[in-house]
């Protein structure tokens, strides 16, 4: 997990997790709560009420000054210029080959200021890649890594909006989906982003690292019984049901967004690194594609397990028991000729177990 036994980093909320009895495990170089009591209970709490996650390990990298928007446009697969201030967009940073350096969210924060929220495991690699593209494009904007100074909490689930509204100032207008607002919760200045990684409505809340503990306590007080602290275990089962990719599993430098089924986050024609390769890939049609699998039994298809199909083998990238769909579900790369409904097998400990290729997501919330 961590490189060469380097000490694990701790988020500003580490002592709160420990005091709450969390099971703390290494993740991307950080010591993070995987669960506080039960992954399934935390998962269900998010689907039925609300959950509170510490995701402060994630990185924040800002592009600032003249040329910031142009550099963002050169880096990011989705459109930047067409996103108005206050908008959040999901997209990828791609190599010239189209392979994914990272999958990130972009915040349109100012007329010459954008913020990328990036995966913890990729902070250094993203920063390096941004500097490389900056040099290539002769951009003069600043690249500022604000990861250490920034904490990130996620409050997710059908009760999340109401809990947050109790703490917001009078006259607060909540941001629409995929938008953010700079506001206060109680007396704490926050950036409130109507985004998430669970398949539920809710917010991701950016705050100065020094105030993260106060925000955690404030949200827990406001949420009471309706808000359950949830760890990375539930975050993973929730995102798998929603079929959101996880970098290092569905995405890496050898897999591109076309293969991963993320075409809608690729804005062809606007110019960005990797566009030509992705265009060619999309036109020719990829040989492999990310598919969803539902297993017949309750055994879990783990990453690296073989998918056997009449058109050739594939490989599982993520798999779990899906607590809400109550099925064993998996994501994996398989020959692109496979269609939803195809009967396949996954090899689990030497046995071929039947499964079906399905359209994703496995779970979609009902919008109120």
């Amino acid at each position: 997990m961590t490189e060469s036994g380097a000490p694990l980093a701790r988020t500003p909320l580490w002592s709160r997790h420990r005091d709450a009895g969390a099971r703390l495990v290494p993740f991307a170089g950080w010591e993070m709560p995987v669960t506080y009591s039960s992954i399934l209970d935390e998962h269900r709490a998010v689907r039925s009420s609300a959950g509170l996650f510490d995701v402060s390990h994630m990185g924040e990298i800002r592009l600032r000054g003249a040329g910031a928007l142009e550099l963002a446009q050169a880096l990011f697969s989705n459109d930047v210029a067409g996103a108005e201030l206050g908008r959040v967009r999901y997209g990828l940073l791609c190599l010239e080959s189209g392979g994914a350096v990272d999958d990130v969210t972009l915040y349109r924060t100012g007329s010459s200021d954008v913020l990328f929220c990036v995966n913890a495991s990729n902070i250094a690699a993203d920063r390096d890649w941004m500097h490389e593209v900056r040099a290539r494009t002769k951009s003069r904007c600043e690249i500022v890594d604000e990861s250490e100074a920034t904490a990130l909490l996620a409050i997710q689930g059908p009760a999340a909006l109401e809990i947050v509204a109790k703490l917001a100032p009078t006259g607060f207008v909540r941001p629409r989906l995929w938008h953010f607002a700079d506001t206060k919760l109680g007396s704490l200045p926050v950036r409130l982003s109507r985004t998430g990684y669970t398949g539920e409505d809710g917010y991701e809340v950016f705050i100065d690292a020094a105030r993260a503990g106060a925000l955690w306590d404030l949200l827990r007080d406001a949420g009471g019984e309706r808000l359950t602290p949830a760890g990375l275990g539930a975050r993973d089962t929730l995102r798998t049901e929603a079929a959101y990719p996880l970098y290092g599993h569905e995405l890496d430098r050898e897999h591109d967004p076309i293969e991963a089924g993320l075409e809608r986050f690729v804005a062809f024609g606007k110019g960005f690194t990797g566009e030509a390769a992705l265009r060619a890939r999309a036109d020719a049609g990829p040989a492999r594609r990310l598919i969803g699998l539902v297993l017949e039994g309750r055994q879990v298809a783990r990453p690296g397990f073989k998918i056997a199909s009449p058109f050739g083998d594939g490989i599982v990238t993520s798999g779990t028991y899906g607590p809400t769909v109550d099925r064993s579900i998996a994501l994996g790369y398989a020959p692109a000729r496979l269609r939803a409904g195809a009967r396949l097998h996954v090899e689990i400990r030497g046995k071929l177990l039947p499964c079906e290729a399905v359209a994703t997501p496995f779970y979609r919330r009902k919008r109120g």
Binding site: G21, S38, R298, Q299, V300
Partner: protein, 135 residues
């Protein structure tokens, strides 16, 4: 690591791989300990053996899977599988809820019932759990 007291009943003996055994007449009933179920977290699948199978001590006789992990079940004793708790297939959560009761997995007809005494006592097992939890 959650600071909790694990349930370790005095009427059981234990393996280093966190199975418990309890003598029940001429059979020994086998399951996984409270510590084991807690480490695995929510168990979602149990692969059970067939009754009648002959086991050597240390043989893998089944698998438990949780959301996060997979673990082999290892035979605590040599003997024949006399009973299999088939309902666990439908209720893997019993392993979490009641590991020493409804969560029993198999009963073995042991070759040598006295071999039970060679396993860890509750006191020894508590020390074994503590040693690992302290790491």
């Amino acid at each position: 690591m959650a600071d909790r007291e694990y349930e370790i009943p005095d009427d059981c003996q234990f393996t280093e791989s966190d199975e418990w055994v309890r003598v029940d007449g001429t059979l020994v009933r086998v399951g996984i300990t409270d510590y084991a179920q807690s480490e695995l977290n929510d168990i979602v699948f149990v692969e059970l053996p067939e009754a009648g199978r002959q086991l050597e001590k240390g043989d893998a006789f089944g698998v438990v899977e949780s959301v996060k992990a997979v673990s082999d079940l290892l035979a605590p004793l040599t003997g024949e599988i006399a009973e299999v708790h088939g309902r666990l297939s439908e209720h893997p959560e019993w392993l979490n809820e009641d590991p020493y009761g409804r969560g029993w997995i198999i009963a073995i007809n042991p070759e040598d019932l006295e071999a039970v005494d060679g396993l860890m006592s509750a006191v020894e097992y508590r020390a074994h759990v503590k040693a690992r939890a302290g790491k």
